[in-house]
Symmetry: C2
Subunit: 452 residues, 2 copies
């Protein structure tokens, strides 16, 4: 049995390790165009920040460890083509092109940064995206010799880099084309995130929303400023493109595998693509949403790991359906925790629900405790059925605690009425007597009273 | 409508406030033998520690606030008797005894510290229990002038006081009659708690397990040492009795209300006692356990609040069943978080389950993060059905996050197989890529494989 895996960051690395354990006699090989395999790309902002200085801390399994486990790893080896009929892939490295046979193929090509249509965006060496280890190394090096940075985009990665740069003393401008920051959150929560961040230390950074960067200016491959559609110009030593990601699904598409509406590879619950013996997992493929039931594309490291494991199990012949995602996530920027799960308001409407919401602002522990912080929690439920749909929490550490409890409730398809009986832990250093989640349920109950 | 509430710390205070809002025209009165009403007794260890210095921070609602809401509060007014036929209570204060009529009676008499059978235990002024605000004030005053303390008992309150005393520079001896600390945890987790605490700072405190204090020695009402059954003697400046609590159910029992096996007042889901128009809530009554279905007695502040609210709703004629408890709790001692929910091994066996367990020790966030800690998590499930039964977590902040997710799963009666698909949040400062909870589910799956 010849098992070939394309890509080896999270899903691919996990799939390779798992399938080799399941089928010790199989030949398992990873082909990747990357210079590294099996690493924590989510940790790159913390490497850049200087929370640790050796980037090798990010490596989960080294090539040597894979080899010791009997797995071959081919770095800087780009798969250019999948030949379905022949069950072969075409691999190109620096010196040669060659064909490799497979019995089972697992595609884990991940996602890449979106490069917006900005004049000059490709002309400069100090314009960065952050996906790979080399990106992180280059950005950290440059940051240590910079005074100003412009970040284009205000999603999780943009805000994590804002923290990294501010903590390293840079003056930072975040430019967001949308009218608000981090638009995966509902508008009211987005606004609270902005207020909270701006209240921390407004001297070191500024947010510009509703501004589109149209041009990057500079010379000798060194960008020195960006210009926006309204004519504003910002001088800078480095520019970070954090405008979102797009799935690396071209290889699959070109081979004729079915692609979903999101642009990511379509798979069934067994992580099988539309072609027998070809599986996909991680940031390159879609997944079912547990609440909406629809196919969604939510590229996250935790999901990639689970899908990699699941693809390996199914490819090895062990029935192991992947039940889907809730889109649960958490990120930190300058002591603000931002976390969410399930559907936001827009997604809930699109999925055919009638969302009602409760927003609770409360201390994260009893107010007399010395290190008290605050949390704003928003919970959404369907007005007709009382079904919990999703939630968002921002504020102190502990915001994510509430979101994980809510995620578990979403997994179980609980209603507001059922959740309000939840027996959550309480002690003054950990929570208020009535947890914000339970307050939110009380408010929701009063909005959908026939079910409460 | 004349509504009388006996007791006013958590459940009673909540019930009074709620029922007055529901029935603005009703006469609502609280009778309590306490000197204060509506306060956070869970916060007393932090007041003693000095996290804040004004005990009034512990007050949730003052007498004046109750009065302003139209609620009468009678402090230091002990209810000596309930006259069922006459629907009256007999109240005694410092100067007089009098009768009060009721239409609805809500009993919220709480619990009191157990005083073990120790020779001399009542002879000294520096032997304390901790339940009320005056207790806290006295203990803090004495602590500030003490060098040594003996704590008898190692439950949550004993360990919270250990933290308070150690942080104030005292040399502390904790003496526990059982063979291990904090026996609400399973033996393996108890042992880990002990190891973890002892690894912090062994110079300032010691644990003695399997030792029974038989005598307190001293003179002129000042205790100076304790003696154990094995003949050990410990000199000390103050002694704390933290040997558990017992429900204040005598008043109810004497009136003929049904009392449960635990010794606490029996109530139905509407918080009604065996006598019409008499409700009970909080630490004085039993509650159903969501997993075992049995009546249990789990005296906790969070539950007291919910039951107080529920008793008020039902007494006001609004059908509002209380669905029960999971026994979820959390406590901190010297940077160790201890948290649990659901059934422990012993309780699971008693409830007729066949518990299997998974224990996972893991970092609380990705290991390269600067403030990484560790967590040990134990999850129990039924071998036959795969039903999740309970769990315990100890270690860094974030242990309780896992327990709250698990509590939500218990509320929803999820199986291991269902939980293993949970989409929990991940980011390096908050969790490992695979959360310890999901690791525990994988291990449990392999132990009950027909369901996984």
């Amino acid at each position: 049995m010849n098992i070939v895996i394309i890509g080896g960051v999270a899903a691919g690395a996990k799939a390779a390790a798992k399938i080799k354990r399941l089928l010790p006699d199989a030949k398992v090989s990873i082909y990747t165009d990357d210079t590294h395999v099996s690493y924590s790309s989510c940790g790159l902002p913390y490497y850049i920040q200087g929370n640790f200085t050796d980037y090798r801390m990010l490596l989960v399994r080294s090539v040597e460890e894979f080899n010791a486990a009997g797995i071959d790893v081919f770095l800087e080896s780009r798969v250019e083509k999948i030949l379905l009929k022949q069950k072969q892939i075409l691999v190109c490295n620096k010196t040669e092109a060659y064909l490799v046979k497979y019995d089972k193929l697992i595609i884990a090509t991940g996602a890449r940064a979106i490069i917006p249509n900005i004049h000059g965006v490709k002309n400069f060496d100090n314009v960065y995206t952050l996906r790979k280890i080399e990106d992180g190394i280059k950005i950290r090096e440059k940051m240590l010799n910079s005074k100003r940075a412009v970040i284009i985009g205000s999603g999780y990665i943009g805000l994590e880099l804002l923290e990294a740069f501010v903590k390293n003393g840079l003056q930072v401008t975040v430019i967001e084309r949308s009218s608000r920051l981090i638009s995966s959150f509902d508008a009211d929560m987005s606004e609270l995130i902005r207020q909270r961040l701006e209240s921390v230390d407004k001297r070191n950074f500024e947010f510009l929303t509703g501004e589109i960067v149209t041009e990057i200016l500079g010379e000798n491959r060194i960008a020195t400023s960006v210009k926006t559609h309204s004519g504003k110009v910002f001088e800078t030593d480095m520019i970070l493109i954090c405008a979102g990601v797009t799935p690396n699904s071209e290889l699959a598409k070109e081979a004729g595998l079915e692609i979903g509406k999101s642009g990511a590879i379509k798979v069934n619950k067994l992580m099988q693509t539309s072609i027998p013996d070809i599986y996909a997992c991680g940031d390159c493929c879609e997944e079912p949403h547990i609440i909406s039931g629809k196919s969604v594309w939510v590229p996250l490291g935790s999901t990639a790991n689970k899908e990699g494991r699941c693809a390996a199990l199914n490819a090895a012949g062990i029935y192991s359906p992947f039940e889907g995602v809730l889109g649960s996530s958490v990120s930190r920027c300058l002591n603000t925790t931002m976390s969410m799960t399930g559907l936001n308001e827009k997604q809930a409407l699109e999925a055919g629900f009638t969302p009602v919401s409760a927003v609770v602002s409360k201390t994260d522990k009893v107010a007399y405790m010395p290190d008290v912080g605050d949390i704003t929690l928003k919970v959404l439920a369907d007005k007709h059925s009382g079904l919990l749909l999703g939630g968002q929490a921002i504020g102190a550490l502990g915001a994510d605690k509430r979101i994980n409890s809510l995620a578990t409730a979403l997994l179980a398809h609980l209603t507001v009425k059922e959740f309000k009986h939840n027996d959550l832990t309480y002690s003054p250093p950990y929570s208020t007597t009535i947890d914000p989640l339970l307050d939110a349920m009380s408010i929701l109950c009063s909005k959908i009273n026939k079910h409460c």
